[in-house]
């Protein structure tokens, strides 16, 4: 069997065979291994990254790391001013944005509507009342305004509208039943209605971003105007999004808020807790799809190694026969091929790991790939990646062993003499 002396001889042969092999051949095999490794990791990583990209957008642009929201049985976060004052005392907080939030409708082109029976050019939307400077510091929303500009302190009767609410940007423009606004540009007047209260405002800017960004379906107005439309005479808000300083654990911070009594005023959730359960299911689905696609790559890699080792062993059949003839155990010869294929896989994986964590992951984190539905990042948790390295090595070991075994078990004298 694979005794220590067989391992020693197998290793001795493998190292020398690899060291003196053609660099082009070795380079090509390692390149195939590298591509297989990247296929295993990157396909799944990007598919999961599409969903995580959406989640990250919500985290960066809406929920922050921790979000305090209105309890189901209330209309607002009670004692909002006290909660905000408390948050300001906490050193873990990097930024926060209190918001009035309401569902409402927008209507455009009402001035030119000549027939009362004609369908109104209106659409539903989430309407956020925000302090322009505070919100921009929190979500950097002004950077996404593609037409016009974002709100400024002191603005009145103005709104900034998300691109999915405008027909020329929206998917809804092509989908019956969805009615994005037509002919709306910066400077266009629209009607905003919340709880039956209506206000005419001028569109100051249009947020142009990916369809799944929370900014794409929102309408942002000065806080005071939304508060008035809500008919609220206190300053209790509906939502406080908190971004934490780097290194602060969101769960620990949420627990701190709960222990401090904030949970009695509003619902305290970490970003992960606030994600809708459907997002996690979509993530799992994408992950399984990625794994299925990657497994095809694994089979291709195994076949490649099989062919390489088979041809290698076949062309060396005479020498394998000689080795057996002079008394070298067939297991040692088989091991030499197993070691070679393992080294190919490990070398390809090592280069892949360096490319993955040295470049691809940090680069896509800094520069997400902009897709219509998300800003995709590459998700590659280290344990998952190492599991894929193991898969690749196991596949190549099996693929290397089988052809070596086929050649080694042939009759020794036939191998030496080149007889079939």
């Amino acid at each position: 069997m694979f005794s220590p002396v067989n391992i020693r001889v197998g290793w001795y042969l493998a190292v020398r065979q690899l060291r003196r092999a053609s660099r082009w051949t070795t380079g090509l095999i390692v390149f195939v291994m590298l591509l297989t490794f990247l296929n295993l990791v990157v396909v799944t990583g990007f598919m999961v990254g599409i969903v995580d990209g959406i989640s990250n957008l919500y985290r960066a642009q809406q929920t922050g790391d921790v979000i305090i929201s209105t309890p189901k049985d209330k209309n607002y976060i009670e004692h909002s001013a006290d909660v905000l004052a408390f948050l300001k005392t906490l050193p873990q907080v990097a930024a926060m944005s209190p918001r009035y939030v309401a569902g409402g409708t927008l209507e455009a082109n009402y001035q030119t509507r000549s027939d009362i029976n004609q369908k109104a050019n209106s659409t539903g939307a989430n309407i956020f009342g925000v302090d322009p400077s505070t919100e921009d510091a929190f979500s950097h929303i002004s950077g996404f305004v593609g037409e016009g500009s974002f709100l400024s302190p002191g603005d009145y009767d103005t709104a900034v509208v998300g691109s999915q609410l405008i027909d020329r940007y929206s998917f809804g423009g092509d989908i019956p039943g969805l009615t994005p606004l037509r002919n709306v540009r910066p400077g266009t007047k629209i009607r905003v209605t919340i709880n039956g209260s209506t206000r005419e405002v001028v569109v100051k800017g249009i947020i142009v971003t990916t369809a799944n960004s929370p900014l794409a379906t929102g309408v942002y107005m000065p806080a005071e105007e939304v508060r008035t439309l809500l008919g609220r005479d206190d300053y209790n808000v509906n939502q406080i999004a908190v971004r934490l300083k780097p290194g602060v654990n969101a769960s620990d911070f949420a627990n701190l808020l709960r222990r401090s009594g904030v949970a009695e005023q509003g619902v305290v959730q970490t970003f992960n807790e606030a994600i809708p359960s459907g997002v996690a299911e979509v993530r799992n689905t994408f992950e399984q799809m990625g794994n299925a696609i990657s497994s095809v790559g694994l089979v291709v890699a195994a076949i490649t190694i099989f062919i390489v080792i088979f041809i290698n062993a076949l062309t060396r059949r005479k020498f394998i026969g000689i080795l057996k003839g002079i008394g070298i155990d067939g297991r040692a010869i088989e091991l030499s091929y197993i070691f070679q294929s393992t080294m190919y896989a490990l070398l390809g994986s090592a280069i892949g790991l360096a490319a993955l964590y040295g470049f691809l992951v940090p680069y896509t984190a800094a520069h997400p790939i902009v897709l219509p539905i998300s800003n995709a990042i590459l998700v590659a948790p280290v344990p998952d990646t190492l599991l894929r390295v193991l898969l690749l090595v196991v596949a190549t070991v099996v693929a290397g062993y089988i052809p070596a075994r086929m050649i080694v078990k042939k009759n020794t004298l036939d191998s030496i003499l080149g007889r079939n």
Partner: protein
């Protein structure tokens, strides 16, 4: 120890009784060896000679356990070796036999030294000891200065000497050589035969297949084959 200070003793090293080898290819049956009886004494240098197709190499493959006879007995040091399992034969070849092939049979990825080292490592020798022993074997065939060269960097004669070094490094009890000079020029052939003569003088049992009379005469005894039978 297998090496002796003088020529052969009267001890029987190999005894072959009624050895036959027949090849079958479909319905075609080709008898190659037809009842060979042969005794090889310890320390003896035998040349097996005969015309092409006489069965010289086939006989050597049976004696050296690289092939299985169809019938008959092969007894080495009193042990019936034709009944051994494949792995036992492999170990027998490793521990007791040395081989020199017509086309040198060196591994192309290993240097001359490494080619000699491989069977020594298989014999559980530690690396330093194996290298020292391999170098000593190369020195014996006058090739220590080419120890670090790959076979492709050696001449035919040098490759054959490296092959001899590999076969004698662990001092085998019997050295088998199959047409060791067939691919060599005259001078290299003489060098190789000098090495064999030297080994024989040290007591090495050698069984050599050759078709060259000049080199066959250097052996202590010539066994002539014709049509699968020993004729003299």
């Amino acid at each position: 120890m297998p090496l002796h200070p003088h020529h052969h003793t009267s001890a029987v090293k190999i005894e072959v009784r009624n050895l036959t080898k027949t090849y079958k290819n479909g319905d075609v049956i080709t008898p190659v060896l037809k009842g060979i009886d042969l005794t090889v004494l310890e320390g003896e240098f035998i040349a097996i000679m005969g015309r092409s197709g006489a069965g010289k190499s086939t006989l050597m493959y049976q004696l050296s356990l690289l092939d299985e006879p169809t019938d008959g007995e092969i007894i080495v040091d009193g042990r019936e070796v034709h009944t051994l399992s494949d792995r036992e034969k492999e170990l027998f070849r490793l521990h007791k036999f040395g081989y020199v092939f017509q086309d040198y049979a060196l591994l192309p990825d290993l240097t001359a030294l490494e080619n000699v080292v491989i069977p020594l490592i298989m014999e559980h020798m530690d690396t330093a000891q194996a290298y020292a022993k391999a170098l000593e074997a190369l020195r014996k065939v006058g090739l220590e200065h080419r120890a670090g060269n790959l076979p492709s960097q050696l001449s035919g004669g040098e490759q054959q000497r490296a092959s001899i070094a590999r076969s004698i490094a662990e001092r085998p009890e019997i050295l088998f050589a199959d047409e060791p000079t067939a691919n060599l020029d005259s001078e290299s052939s003489k060098n190789v035969m000098k090495i064999f003569e030297g080994l024989h003088k040290e007591g090495q049992t050698i069984i050599m297949v050759t078709h060259e009379e000049e080199y066959g005469k250097l052996a202590e005894r010539i066994v002539r084959l014709d049509d699968g039978k020993i004729i003299s």
